[in-house]
Amino acid sequence: MSTPIEIPKWADVSLVPVLAVIVAFLVAGLVVLGIGENPVKATVLLIQGALGSGEGIGYTLYYATNFIFTGLAVAIAFHAGLFNIGGEGQATMGGLGAALICLNLDFLPWYIVLPLAILGAMAMGALWAFIPGYLQVKRGSHVVITTIMFNFLAATLVVYLLVNVIGKPGSMSPETRVFAASAHLPYVHEALAYFGIKIPKSPLNLSFVLALLASAFIWILVWHTKLGYAIRTVGHSPTAATYAGISIGRITLITMAISGALAGMLAVNEILGVQGRLLLEFSSGYGFIGIAVALMGRAHPVGIVLASILFGMLYQGGTELSFEMPRVTRDMIVAISGLVILFAGALDGLIRRPVAGVFARLLKSGA
């Protein structure tokens, strides 16, 4: 592997991740078989649950929204050669940022509260990624370890605040009061009803539109701006970046902040869109699955949106599936994510090498 594995670019961005996912699913199918259920039947139930009804599609896209945010967060860091495992913590802090705005300002009309709350979520998420970035640049501690530690720090900080400071007085569960209606991001079914279009109710809210906008923004940023060029240069070859006069430290800080802001936007979907209050563990693993999404989507916004929809299907279909087949719980999805990370990430060569072999043979016979 000292010589890079040569394959056409289209195959690298489409064929290889698709094969990785297929292998991951085959292994997952074996697991389902192992616990005594029929994997084909499970797959059919899963797809029906995810796409078989308007409500199911709504839920699928609602889950996908979370994955788009966390997937983009991991991807932008990848482009700068950074590994941000702190999505969970950044999302948690994003929730705190949104909640602080809502708790203090939700007497104001929606057109002031909502933008401020979204900015609050982004700012706190950005801060929680910026500090590890800063510590790497200025003090030499690696972002991977620091972001892991920051996940736990965010969790304990928010528990403390919810229990002792901003929690609803007299409530047994650690959560804030419900925000006023002005701080609620409309559901898609509400928004469309305004225009007279009726669709089934689901938690899908306007965050989905924000997620698509964020994807477009990242696409433009990474491939069509000077900053994006600098980010990719740093990620590709820090030495070349230094020779070109690009400050690696500055790019690291900016990229980490963007990454954290994106992860913080998870809170826009969950807190402003659905829960209407801050509660514990709303990030529930989305931050980590974002790594699977980014790897599968080859760190490209289009790939990430597609991968997010796939994981949204798994989440929604998996929930339905666990009603029909109680033995196949939603933990299956966590295992599948792990397999996808393994085959699309760490064991990538296992799939790319045979693919490269096939292409080499095709080229030889063609020539």
Binding site: M1, S2, V31, G34, I35, G36, F83, I85, L135, R139, G140, S141, H142, V144, I145, T146, I148, M149, F150, F152, L153, T156, L157, V159, Y160, V163, N164, F288, I289, I291, A292, L295, P326, R327, V328, T329, D331, M332, I333, V334, A335, I336, S337, G338, L339, I341, L342, G345, A346, L347, D348, G349, L350
Partner: protein, 323 residues
């Protein structure tokens, strides 16, 4: 005297809580000293906890449980080794995958097998590692000062807890005083030099990863068969990451690893003890502040504000033989 009894109780509980940390931390030590970064300690502990509980439940033998835990953990360690050493994949990515795979699979299979929400049936008797009472512990418990130390701190732990101490002694000795240990350390600093000397980098790194697997097997089995009575979903609850923090805190050395783990175990014990307690003059101490301390101290240490923690030079970098 009552304060003394409380102190002993906290120390005792700190000792119990630090046992899995010590095993996991030593696992990380072996792996990272050989140049393989391991953030999958958590996942390996979790599969070991599940496998040990399942096997102990089936056979009613804690020893068979331990064996199953070790085998399961080695299995996951080999996946990581294959990805990191043979495939030269990204070691962080592989570690994250191991953690997620373990969290998902144990909960899924646990639920499918036992239908108790992911937990195994409660274990008792021979299926667990019972506390060992040393000779005369009960007899001298009432002697002031020395009695409780002997009865509660030295005696009264499960066999695995003493194994943790043995594992530390062995790790420190082998890594520092033997040829194998020297080679492991060398391969984590300068694999090319080891290769030039005609020693296989791949074989050394695989052995280190397998040793890490064995140690994580002990850690997980202790959780399920010693500390608790059976497996609970996600029962490691971040212990693998605390162990990682302790490893950094110990600057990748065996004896300091033991002390760092004891410190973090003690903090945990203090946090449990202080839950809801009002300290005279200070008021209620937020438990979360104490729970956050290990992470916070690690961040501060890594940033070089107190001393400097420098990882093995080649850790995280796949070795590519020059052609």
């Amino acid at each position: 005297m009552e304060i003394y009894a409380t102190l002993i109780a906290i120390l005792e509980s700190g000792l119990r809580l630090c046992v899995p940390l010590v095993f996991a931390c030593l696992a990380g030590l072996w792996s990272e000293r050989s140049g393989v970064v391991d953030i999958g300690l958590e996942g390996k502990m979790l599969v070991a906890a599940f496998a040990s509980a399942a096997a102990a439940e089936a056979t009613n033998s804690a020893l068979i449980g331990l064996g199953a835990g070790i085998i399961a953990s080695i299995g996951f360690a080999l996946i990581h080794g294959f990805a990191a050493i043979s495939q030269r994949g990204n070691q962080i990515v592989s570690g994250v995958a191991i953690n997620m795979l373990a969290a998902g699979l144990t909960a899924l299979v646990g639920n499918a097998w036992y239908a108790q929400g992911g937990r195994t049936p409660p274990l008792e008797g021979d299926a667990r590692f019972q506390p060992l009472t040393w000779p005369g512990a009960e007899a001298i418990d009432h002697i002031p000062i020395i009695g409780p130390i002997y009865a509660h701190l030295i005696s009264g732990h499960s066999a695995l807890a003493y194994c943790a101490l043995v594992a530390t002694i062995l790790s420190a000795f082998v890594l520092r005083r033997t040829r194998f240990g020297l080679r492991i350390r060398a391969v984590g600093e300068n694999p090319a030099a080891v290769d030039t000397a005609g020693v296989s980098v791949i074989r050394l790194r695989y052995s280190a990863v397998i040793i890490a697997g064995i140690l994580c097997g002990f850690a997980g089995s202790y959780l399920a068969l010693g500390q608790a009575a059976g497996f609970l979903t996600n029962m490691t609850a971040g212990k693998g990451f605390i162990a990682l923090a302790a490893l950094i805190f110990a600057k990748w050395r065996a004896w300091p690893a033991l002390w760092a783990c004891f410190l973090f175990g003690l903090l945990d014990a203090v946090a449990i003890r202080l839950q809801g307690v009002i300290v005279p003059g200070i008021g209620q101490i937020p438990v979360q502040a104490i729970q956050a301390l290990p992470y916070l101290m690690t961040v501060i240490l890594l940033a070089g504000f107190i001393g400097k923690a420098i990882p093995p030079k080649a850790s995280g970098i796949p070795y590519v033989k020059e052609r």
